[in-house]
């Protein structure tokens, strides 16, 4: 457990700037999730912290120590990769014990047993300790891979999409488990994903990366409700935020510089006779999508090709083809460069 500071770090690969002037200050016990599309610089950032890459400029500080020039093995970090790599010829126990048996650290077999047992209990795998690693399911293997990071008690955990190779269902279970483990151990974690649900639910703070730059760093609420740009707003939320050209809702009062309106599906209400006075737009229902517990109304705005998705409560469903009045309760404003225009 330790704090982590990434100070003005930049990294180029040839002509490509992978990470540009990145600054992140993490307190001990914090869970920071880096979110962004492929190529945003997320994995490069992890590798820079781990020491697998050297920055062109800037420093990495772990627990108050500048480790920029320190070898990976001496940085006291562990890295969990997307593809779990276990030793197939070893049992779960020996896989978990492996990092502790490294010649760099002298741990007695008694201490190893205590630590492995503790971690196995945390992972709910006590009964699997003697199984060969190859006799596990994918989810169990990934749990062992995470467990191998946990036995070491490093200063900082680095995780690169550790759940993305798993089945949808398993991914959900393991995500909740990972959060519980982090809360129990108060580990400092820097975690990379492109899955917004993982980011929202795991993070104490989310850092959104785009083209190597940190475009916003804040709590899940801040990033979801108060996004700094179109890129951030559309990265979080399912269904995705509706982005409308200013002209599509020309009658709404907004500042001059606004070119794009962002409207989240949950902020569009279908008006019924009692609430008709609130209506501020008209729309036609194109189709209704049923996503387990969510009803999504696919709407079109009159006189334009513009589509709009609204989430509806079962009580306010309209029929396909019907013209309805809607109330847009809240919208976010963006300028031509995609930056937020505040009220």
């Amino acid at each position: 457990m330790a704090d982590l500071k990434i100070a003005a770090v930049s990294k180029h690969f040839g002509q490509t700037a992978a990470v540009r002037d990145l600054n992140i200050d993490m307190a001990s016990g914090e869970f920071v999730v880096l979110l962004g599309p492929s190529g945003a610089g997320k994995t490069t950032t992890l590798r820079l912290v781990a020491g697998l890459e050297t920055p062109d400029s800037g420093q990495v500080w772990i627990n108050g120590r500048d480790v920029t020039q320190v070898a990976p093995a001496l940085r006291d970090v562990t890295f969990v990769f997307q593809q779990y790599s276990l030793y197939p010829h070893l049992s779960v126990y020996d896989n978990l014990a492996f990092p502790l048996r490294s010649p760099l650290r002298k741990t007695s077999e008694d201490d190893i047993r205590a630590k492995v047992t503790e971690v196995a209990r945390m992972l709910r795998m006590e009964d699997k300790l003697q199984n060969p690693a190859t006799r596990l399911s994918g989810g169990q293997m990934q749990r062992v891979a995470i467990g191998r990071a946990l036995v070491r008690d490093p200063a900082v955990y680095l995780m690169d999409e550790p759940l993305s190779s798993l089945d949808a269902k398993l991914r959900n279970d393991l995500r909740l488990e990972l959060k519980r483990i982090q809360q129990d151990t108060q580990a400092t974690m820097l975690y990379v994903t492109h899955d917004q649900v993982e980011a929202l639910t795991l993070a104490t703070r989310i850092g959104v990366l785009d083209h190597g730059q940190l475009v916003q760093l804040g709590t899940p609420q801040q990033v979801y409700e108060d996004p700094a740009s179109v890129a951030v707003a559309s990265r979080l939320g399912s269904p995705r935020i509706n982005l409308l050209p200013r002209a599509a809702l020309a009658h709404l009062q907004v500042p001059e510089t606004v070119t794009t309106l962002g409207v989240r599906a949950e902020h569009i209400q279908v008006c019924h006779p009692d609430t008709l006075a609130q209506a501020n737009a008209q729309a036609r229902v194109e189709r209704i999508e049923r996503l387990s517990d969510q009803y999504l109304l696919h709407l079109s705005l009159p006189g334009s090709e513009q589509g709009l998705i609204a989430s509806a409560h079962p009580g306010e469903l309209a029929r396909p083809g019907e013209d309805i009045h809607i109330h847009i309760a809240h919208s976010l404003w963006f300028d031509a460069g995609g930056q937020r225009v505040r009220h």
Binding site: D167, Q221, A265, I288, L291, S292, P314, P320
Partner: protein
Amino acid sequence: MAEIRIQNLHKAFAEFTAVKDSSFTVNDGEFFCLLGPSGCGKTTTLRMIAGLELPTSGQIFLGGEDVTFKRASARDIAFVFQMFALYPHMTVRQNIAFPLVSQGMAKSEITQRVAQAANTLHITGLLDKSVSGLTSGDRQRVALGRAIVRQPMAFMMDEPLGALDAEFRELMCEELRGLHDRLGATTVYVTHDQREAMSMADKIAIMNQGVIEQLGAPQEIYERPASVFVADFMGSPSMNFIPVSAALARGATTIRVSGASLGLPAVSDAVTERPLLYGVRPEHIQLSADTGLRAEVVGVDYLGNCQIVTLTTAVGSTVRAKVDVRSPAQRGDQVGLVFDAAQVSLFDAASGRALRTARDDIPVSLIGTRGGAAHG
């Protein structure tokens, strides 16, 4: 375009039975999803329909014709794989044209078919580009182009979106369903992602250990799960199960759990004393200060448009509730859980099968709604 009929299909690999005695029909023009966890037999089923695997027993009819032992190439089916295998040295146009060229089709017709397929997929602008420079989404569109250009009787898709980023997958779901609506082609689609299946399928067959557990329209499977497995697999987070041992009279509408009386849709048949599972979806739970089943908040997950509250009940089970973001809940809070009785499912704990209730008598289109909903 054609109907696909599967009769008593069975496949064993040595000791392991991958598919057990499955029978189902995919109607002409239907988007049919085979859904289930890894190893449930969904891909094996798909591969048998395509002719990439031969069944141990059973029959496969394509457009009324028995194709069980026909070679894959003689089945007039197009297969789209998860890993889009394109020819990297060819242009988009050459890749899409490839299946027609190998059939020996006339050049003028190939040109026309490729243009048509590209137009359907909105990739006309990419036709003369090299495949190697494309984004993963565009590569998948080209792979689809290569499938649709043949105008086959049916499409087989094996997790075609599995390799894509989460955010992009959502967009491609829309696109694939749109494509299906334009082509109207019979499609069998394999996935482990219930969300994909819910958003695209006309009909879902949910598989478990080689057996189809339930077959039906997406909302039917979600609203009226036939078993604990199905209830648990569909929805995210999945259904909550509260164990209780009870005897119920015919028409009973409540069940006692640890001092609280929980509501149910009227039970259709009397139930003798036995272990049951009271199943309730996260969105059908409300947190209340003083009524309902007592529970302690152990975690809160913020999801932007809602939050998932994880609780431990007085009977020791874990319950997840999906509630409004404005609803205050914090780790350590003591609350009461109130369940929407009309939406509850009841299961026999031993067999895992759902017990019949008044909920089974309501038309599916009206379940869970007050107005009645159409599926897109």
